[in-house]
């Protein structure tokens, strides 16, 4: 059956995020159809596919912005489909937005403090954590600038910092490398690898920048027209004829 998750060889780790048969329609258009995959705990999984494949819709379904019409979503074994986005965040899921949504009137540091407040009750503690995260993302020099004045790459980094500050168990990254120079991309890749290795942060990322996908993902899920057409390690998937066919004409490879 198309879309059925293939068991990852050699992994006995439980799946932190399980998507089973989710579907979503918008005014008759099937954006996501019977999509299933798993994100094992501590893994980095890439979600790729041509534009309009339904990747961001998947994210929105997982994060609670939309409610799936069918199927189940489980986070650490608990069903979270139908929950509100803030409830899902408190359950341990962090996400960034493809169209970045900074708190424009607040400074960079204050933006991240908002995120950090999810795990601290006191503003002081949150500020300390926020300062650390801001440094990790290389935004320290701009931490007192208003977020509205940042360049796009910096705004993307801010999105990541904010989501990271909530100390998530799993982080959903939506095209955070877009528009970055290769050195910046490498730096982000290094950061995520480090967080994954040190803290065991699970990551699910939507990416068009293949360099990052190949470097980071242990497993890749390919979406096309709202359906999963391939799942597997990046090397395999990128040689899959069905995948190559759907990308023909796109210069993603």
């Amino acid at each position: 059956m198309a879309g059925a998750p293939r068991a990852n060889p050699g992994t006995s780790m439980a799946a932190l995020l399980e998507i089973a048969g989710i579907s979503k329609r918008f005014s008759g258009l099937k954006a996501v159809q019977n999509v299933s995959f798993e994100v094992p705990e501590g893994a980095i999984v890439g979600l790729i596919g041509p534009n309009g494949a339904g990747k961001t819709t998947c994210f929105n379904l997982i994060a609670g912005v939309y409610r799936p019409e069918a199927g189940e979503i489980r986070l650490a074994g608990r069903r979270i489909d139908g929950w509100r986005p803030d409830q899902i965040c408190r359950a341990g899921l962090g996400r960034t937005f493809q169209l970045v949504k900074p708190f424009a009137g607040l400074t960079v540091l204050e933006n991240v403090v908002v995120g950090a407040l999810k795990q601290c009750r006191s503003v002081r503690a949150a500020e300390a954590i926020a300062a650390q995260v801001v440094e990790q993302l290389g935004l320290k020099s701009k931490c007192h600038e208003p977020a509205g004045s940042l360049t796009l790459p910096d705004r993307k980094r801010l999105e990541v910092a904010r989501a990271l500050a909530t100390a998530p168990r799993i982080l959903l990254l939506d095209e955070v490398m877009a528009g970055l120079r290769p050195t910046e991309t490498d730096r982000m890749v290094g950061l995520f690898k480090d967080l994954n290795a040190r803290l065991g942060l699970t990551i699910l990322l939507i990416e068009h920048v293949m360099r990052a996908v190949m470097a980071l993902s242990r497993q890749v899920v390919v979406l096309h027209h709202g359906q999963v057409i391939a799942t597997g390690p990046p090397g395999e998937v990128t040689r899959d004829p069905a995948v190559l066919e759907c990308y023909l004409g796109e210069d993603a490879l």
């Binding site: 994060a63 912005v65 509100r84 986005p85 803030d86 965040c89 408190r90 962090g94 996400r95 937005f97 949504k101 900074p102 708190f103 424009a104 009137g105 607040l106 400074t107 204050e110 403090v113 908002v114 995120g115 407040l117 999810k118 009750r121 006191s122 503003v123 949150a126 007192h144 600038e145 208003p146 004045s149 904010r162 989501a163 909530t166």
Partner: protein, 340 residues
């Protein structure tokens, strides 16, 4: 958003504020009754403006029916005093309870049913109008003929029952204004403050960071309503008469938002500066017109309207942010930032 200057060592800004406060405390000893009443008005508008600013400037919810809470607070405390002789210091708890419950009702209806933006503003107008008409027919509080508080003796200052000279009200309102300022300052630096600002800037991003939109929106509406109602209590005991047509009228609601908008929405000093500017300029205009012999009702409102127009068109952040920058009181912060 944080005020680094309140973190410890006294700085230029704190010294200035303390001087200003000292001046205000000494003021009644030096000034005549007329000036005292002018400042009473200023403090009143600064106070209720600050309360409204909580909802709009902090959480981004536009209320155009805030006179509702002033009126409810006024009538509750006044009714308890007139009918049962209860002191306004006790009566104000009833005011707060009534206003908070009404705010909670409006907030619940609005946020549960997704009524936002301009529709929310219209909803608040509708509630205020409804109250105006309802109170017009409620004879226990006087109906449309008005509700009157007995005035005993102006010479004697009875703080317990808020009966007394303008000077007494001056200090009460000064204390309230300072209190509101300090409260808002503390709130801005608190978890709630950060969350409110986040909701104002981007509700979706706020949700994605674990913020419960409903709970925080509700809390700001209820707090704002409760704070405003206290202004209503003082209003009732200062003017000693309440007419639904005036108290709940939409022009009252608009009046009380002029100061924060002109001063600067979302800033701490905005409502205060706005109240000073507006009232001072209006009184000045009045004086000029009387001197010229043009004492026509409505001129003052035209003036207010023009001020509002000018500010909305050319100074969208209000008067305070550019002024603060000019006076270099903004502590090297970028312009257009909230909370100062």
């Amino acid at each position: 958003m944080r005020a680094p200057w309140l973190d410890g060592a006294p700085s230029r800004e704190i010294i200035l504020l303390c001087l200003l406060l000292a001046a205000l405390i000494l003021f009644p000893a030096l000034a005549n009754d007329y000036l005292i009443t002018v400042l009473i008005l200023i403090f009143y508008f600064a106070y209720v403006g600050q309360a409204w600013n909580l909802m709009m400037g902090f959480a981004g919810q536009l209320s155009l029916g805030h006179a509702l809470y002033v009126g409810l607070g006024a009538y509750a405390a006044a009714a308890l005093y007139v009918h049962f002789g209860i002191s306004p210091w006790l009566g104000l708890w009833a005011s707060v309870a009534v206003a908070a419950t009404t705010g909670a009702l409006i907030g619940f209806l609005a946020f549960r049913f997704g009524v936002a933006g301009v529709y929310f503003a219209i909803l608040t107008i509708a509630f205020a109008e409804f109250a105006r008409l309802a109170f017009d027919h409620w004879s226990w509080v006087g109906g449309s003929a008005g509700f009157f508080l007995p005035v005993a003796n102006y010479a004697k200052n009875d703080l317990i029952n808020l009966r007394g000279s303008p000077t007494m009200f001056y200090y009460v309102l000064l204390a309230m204004t300072v209190g509101a300022f300090l409260l808002c300052h503390a709130l801005l630096r608190s978890r709630a403050g950060y969350y409110w600002l986040a909701i104002r800037e981007s509700p979706e991003a706020a949700q994605a960071l674990g913020i419960n939109l409903f709970r925080y929106r509700m809390s700001v509406v209820v707090l704002s309503a409760a704070m405003t109602s206290l202004g209503g209590v003082v209003f009732a005991f200062y003017y000693n008469n309440l007419f639904p047509e005036q108290v709940f009228h939409i022009s009252r609601s608009i009046e009380l938002i002029l100061a924060p908008i002109i001063g600067g929405i979302g800033t701490l000093f905005g409502p205060i500066i706005g109240a000073f500017l507006l009232t001072a300029l209006a009184e000045g205009l009045d004086a000029i017109m009387r001197a010229v012999g043009l004492d026509v009702p409505g001129m003052k409102q035209i003036f207010y309207g023009v001020c509002l127009l000018v500010v909305v068109l050319f100074l969208p952040d209000g008067v305070w942010p550019p002024l603060a920058k000019l006076l270099r009181l903004d502590g090297r912060r970028a312009q257009g930032q909230p909370g100062y």
